[in-house]
């Protein structure tokens, strides 16, 4: 591809090793991107459900979810709209903890994450296990703001952030992959920022 006449670039990362290709460091700001009206989620009525191809479908209330062993992610997040944000701290519960209760069946290979809004996103099950994914309600020690998916969202920080479904309420385990909301609208089924898997058709 051609060099752009007159462009030198000014936002070179101070830590390029932590910036996937095509991303920039957004610094202290945290942009939001949402496709639907932001809901008022009532935690008294919210439940986190794990079902589909599991031995023991299970739902946790807000209180029950908070009684599970808490788990914290410290690190970076990457949005497909090209910003990355370093050194975030999210606290909630590891998806591993939920799956230990529900026990995926051997044929389960993919997961559809569902939000209270009807938003969906699909992920390979192996991207949600092994300490790589969380259901979180705190960011940097404070309750997760509504615009950022509060009071509760999925967090899968090693993939582009649209996979980290805001207002998550259900993980549905599946044998076959099927496209979620953005994935039906042209975005990648896996979304690894280091492979720059932004859109359908990317490697």
């Amino acid at each position: 591809m051609p060099v752009t006449r007159g462009f030198l670039g000014k936002r070179r990362a101070s830590r390029p090793d932590r910036l996937p290709p095509g991303q920039y460091d957004t610094g202290s700001s945290w942009p939001t991107l949402t496709a639907e009206a932001t809901p008022d989620l009532d935690v008294e009525r919210w439940q986190m459900t794990v079902d589909g191809l599991v031995e023991q479908p299970h739902s946790w209330s807000w209180r029950e979810a908070h009684a599970l062993p808490s788990s914290t992610y410290f690190g970076d997040i990457h949005c497909v709209t090209t910003w990355s944000k370093f050194d975030m701290t999210f606290t909630g519960v590891s998806v591993d903890t939920l799956l230990e209760v529900a026990r995926p069946k051997p044929e389960a290979r993919f997961v559809m994450a569902h939000s209270t809004t009807g938003y969906t996103t699909n992920l390979p099950l192996e991207d949600l296990t092994g300490g790589k994914a969380w259901v979180v309600w705190e960011v940097d020690g404070k309750p997760l703001p509504r615009g950022h998916g509060g009071p509760v969202r999925l967090l899968v920080p090693h993939l582009y952030f649209w996979k980290s479904a805001k207002w998550v309420t259900r993980l549905e385990l599946m044998e076959r992959d099927r496209p979620g909301f953005w994935e039906q609208n042209g975005y990648h089924d896996r979304g690894d920022p280091w492979l720059e898997q932004r859109y359908q058709g990317d490697p």
């Binding site: 591809m1 051609p2 060099v3 752009t4 006449r5 007159g6 462009f7 030198l8 670039g9 000014k10 936002r11 070179r12 290709p21 095509g22 920039y24 700001s29 945290w30 942009p31 939001t32 991107l33 949402t34 496709a35 639907e36 009206a37 932001t38 709209t81 090209t82 809004t117 009807g118 703001p145 615009g147 950022h148 496209p179 909301f181 953005w182 994935e183 039906q184 609208n185 042209g186 859109y199 359908q200 058709g201």
Partner: protein, 237 residues
């Protein structure tokens, strides 16, 4: 090279575009019209990614909504210059007619309107750009009665395509400047209710703050919020 998205919206791969026309409608806006190599026709509401490449292969890329009708032989983008904006600043201050830029698009299958349902669309400031593509499409197809547009801005100069939107019949609400006999104010519910009547889908485009305000406004005017499609940009504090 094309790849159709699963949802049926067209999607294009990386290509290049040559700037054929470039002008600055206001101090903060630049309008760019490209000839795109191997262009894939878009739907009104879709966007393109513009990627700039430095001599050492450093790149910066941003998404911009398409303003042009799919029927337009050129692809039109209207870019607002953001403070410190790496890509928008380049497009404003450095880009010239004849420059070749990397482009990717069209992208996005959600914030699109194909004239298939009666809709109401509301945008704030530079958020009107995708609505302009919808309006141009509606005019060409004779579907103006299927798409009502509400454009909100501080002043006339803060509203890209203001004259064209007015001609289309958009309801324009300026919040810091009187317009005709309308005193500066955000849209009043009684101004919005008749525009929402009969609409089966809503489109909201603007900053994060505007999007949440406008979504509430449409909801209070009687639109079902689960029919509202939102495209928002910018940052929260």
């Amino acid at each position: 090279m094309t790849a159709a998205a699963a949802g049926g919206a067209p999607a294009g791969d990386w290509t290049t575009g040559t700037i054929i026309e470039l002008d600055h409608p206001t101090d903060r806006l630049v309008r760019l019209r490209f000839h795109v190599e191997d262009r894939v026709d878009h739907l009104p509401g879709q966007h393109y990614v513009v990627r700039l490449r430095a001599p050492d292969d450093y790149t910066a890329q941003r998404s911009y909504s398409i303003a042009s009708d799919p029927d337009d032989p050129l692809l039109e983008l209207m870019v607002e210059c953001l403070p410190g904006g790496e890509v928008s600043g380049f497009l404003h201050d450095v880009a010239e007619v004849g420059d070749v830029l990397e482009l990717r698009g069209p992208i996005g299958g959600w914030f699109v309107w194909e004239g298939d349902v009666p809709a109401v669309a509301i945008a704030g400031g530079s958020g009107v750009v995708p609505l302009v593509a919808m309006a141009r499409y509606a005019r060409r197809m004779g579907l103006q009665d299927q798409l009502r547009i509400i454009a909100v801005a501080r002043t006339w100069d803060d509203l890209p395509y203001a004259a064209e939107l007015e001609k289309y019949g958009a309801f324009i609400a300026l919040t810091r400047q009187n317009l005709g006999d309308r005193v500066a104010a955000p849209p009043y519910p009684e101004e919005v209710v008749p525009l929402v009547a009969g609409a089966e889908r809503g489109y909201v485009c603007g900053s994060v703050g505007f999007a949440s305000y406008a979504t509430r406004l449409l909801g209070e005017a009687g639109l079902r919020t689960d029919t509202i499609r939102v495209e928002q940009f910018g940052e929260t504090g």
